[in-house]
């Protein structure tokens, strides 16, 4: 009996510490403003919510985004803040989990934030759209890019990362730039790569061009020689590989070994530098449709060195977009002229050709990017570099 009581007590203590332990520190806004003597005089504070995963399997990416937001806010504060107010942020941890996402959104809403930045995992972001919509909080979605986010948008969310189907356009543009008309598409039969291949085929055919080979390879298969013969026999001028780097490298090698001389483009799942390592000489001149990762953006050099200096590490894949989103939001609130949520939302919606590291931002009526922000990178000397 006493044993059971002890157990009960232990559970109560654990629960209590869990509730307070987790809830408390995030509740208070972090004081991140510069404290130097020449800091501008602020007329009060403005609190921005940051919803990213800071625990769980995706925590590193969340932290990468939070760091970039901090850099952007320091810059904004150093330039006088937004509407004369000092910008501060409060983190809501979505843990890349729909339930935690909802909890984080409710917490941010009750902390009376002016607007929210964030969203890494689409799954965790989707249920929060309605919460922000009901509470009338403008939300700038940084990384999450599922098309479901477009369908579930409650009218208050803005996506600054291109939805997946923009990659198909980017690929088609790329091949059009090469002057190809006959295209071969190869995927690996999983949801992501097959979707992309299908979308690219639709886009390519919409442009009045021909897909002469559309094929799939089994995962773990090493020999693609038959496929290579098929592609060569089809007369394809370009090959688009929509799956991942390990098998993509094998395909590239065997295409070149088989004497294929056309253009090879791979999708973002293959943007790893390991693809170039495995492909060796065959990887030279291979192109890749990639999200705007700061490593490849010449405009981001200053941001990268700032990031390195402040955090002693390289920016993550979505740090650049997080930095962009913060500046975009600040600009929109400035243009709105007040913290009235409807004014901010309208100002965001009216964003026209706003220059960011990752490209220009103009929103469609569905609040997604009008132009794809995918960039084209090229294998050169065993490294990926930005292609013109």
């Amino acid at each position: 009996m006493t044993k059971r009581l002890w157990l009960l007590a232990l559970v109560v203590v654990l629960l209590a510490s869990g509730v307070f332990g987790c809830g408390q520190p995030a509740e208070e806004p972090k004081d991140e403003g510069p404290d130097s003597a020449e800091a501008p005089q602020f007329d009060g504070e403005m609190l921005i919510g940051v919803m990213v995963p800071v625990t769980g399997s995706e925590a590193t990416y969340g932290k990468d985004m939070e760091n970039a937001i901090k850099i952007a806010m320091d810059e904004i504060n150093a330039a006088g803040g937004i509407l004369g107010k000092e910008v501060k942020y409060v983190v809501g941890d979505d843990g890349c989990d729909p339930q935690m996402g909802s909890a984080a959104a409710s917490k941010l809403v009750s902390s009376e934030v002016t607007a929210v930045l964030g969203g890494y995992c689409s799954g965790a972001t989707i249920p929060t759209l309605k919460i922000y919509g009901d509470a009338k909080v403008p939300f700038v979605i940084i990384a999450a890019n599922s098309t479901q986010l477009i369908d579930e948008n409650a009218g208050w969310s803005f996506m600054i990362n291109s939805p997946g189907y923009h990659q198909a356009n980017a690929a088609a543009d790329c091949f059009e730039g090469f002057g190809s008309t006959k295209l071969a598409l190869v995927h690996q039969g999983d949801g992501f790569s097959e979707d992309l291949a299908t979308l690219t085929r639709e886009e390519w055919e919409k442009r009045g061009k021909e897909v002469v080979a559309y094929d799939v390879v089994n995962k773990g298969e090493q020999d693609f020689s038959s496929l290579v013969t098929k592609i060569k026999a089809s007369g394809a001028e370009g090959v688009y590989w929509t799956a991942y780097h390990a098998d993509g490298a094998l395909l590239i090698r065997q295409l070149r070994q088989g004497g294929f001389t056309g253009d090879i483009v791979v999708a973002d799942g293959s943007s790893s530098v390991q693809l170039l390592e495995i492909a060796g000489a065959a990887g030279e001149g291979v192109y890749c449709t990639s999200p705007p990762v700061v490593d490849f953006l010449p405009a981001a050099a200053q941001f990268i060195s700032k990031y390195n200096a402040e955090f002693g590490q390289e920016p993550g894949p979505y740090s650049g977009l997080a930095y962009d989103g913060t500046h975009l939001l600040a600009d929109a609130i400035e243009r709105a002229g007040s913290t009235d949520p409807e004014a901010i939302r309208d100002a965001l919606a009216a964003t026209k050709n706003f220059e960011t590291l990752s490209g220009t931002v103009t929103f469609t009526p569905e609040y997604i990017l009008e132009e794809s922000n995918f960039i084209i990178i090229k294998g050169e000397g065993g490294k990926w570099v930005l292609a013109e």
């Binding site: 039969g189 094929d215 799939v216 390879v217 089994n218 773990g220 298969e221 090493q222 020999d223 693609f224 020689s225 038959s226 496929l227 290579v228 013969t229 098929k230 060569k232 026999a233 390990a246 490298a249 094998l250 090698r253 065997q254 070149r256 070994q257 088989g258 004497g259 390991q274 390592e277 495995i278 492909a279 060796g280 000489a281 065959a282």
Partner: protein, 305 residues
Amino acid sequence: MSFQEIFIQQLFNGLLLGSFYGLVALGYSMVYGIVKLLNFAHADIYMVGGFCSLSLLSFFGGTFLGKGWFGIVAAMLITMIIVGLLGVLIERIAYKPLREAPRLSLLITALGVSMILYNSVMVITGGEYKAYGTGLGYEGFSLGSVHVTYTQAILIVAAVSLMLILHLFITRTMYGKAMRAISMDRDCCRLMGVNVNKIIALTFFVGSALAASAGMMAGVYYGSLHFFMGFVIGIKAFTAAVIGGIGIIPGAMLGGLLLGLLESFGTQIPFIGSEWKDVFSFSILILILIFKPTGLLGKKESERM
């Protein structure tokens, strides 16, 4: 590409693929012939051979041998010896104590050895793909739009020569004769004064060395290694061994080449995409087995090997 060009190109591709299958199938077949064991660890020996040769080749890269053909041949010979000895070691530790045990116990031990091998390599390599850098280029010869690199041609020749050497070894030497005799009647051989343990060890050595050479060739040709790379080829080589008649040396070579050619031509049939190539080739293999259950060159039980 014209029809003939596609045919010739696929013939080359199929031969190369088939010789990989054949080399691995030989090991399955030899071991089955002599100790009646389906050595599931054999596919992992192939994989270990790939990784072993990669470390040797990266080492040679810094010496006068370089990463070109000299380095590759040296690395291949040393790899074949090291991995051959690994095969002997596995036999001594895991299979020999169970030689008189029921066949199923031995089978499960083989599965265990397979898991130990690929899990160890997974831990060592961190489960990542490793690039197999060589000094070889993509030069080759072209006949119309048929393109064959020198690497491909040399690999085919190398694989076929290994098979021929093995064939001569089995049919012309005393050791080969002893192997054939043991596969017929082990106890009788022992009574005749044949050192059975030594010959069985030799069989494992030769089989593992051949698999290691295939693993290395796959690395050189495809350019990457992975701890699970043995799985698919293991299944296919085993199938090749059964098709040719398991336990029969020329059968394994024939089965391997046949499977390679079937796969390579199967994908060229209209409406059969690459994802269906295994379905196509295995359907034909099932048909062969229905009409000839002992495999293409299979004879009665007593005349194995």
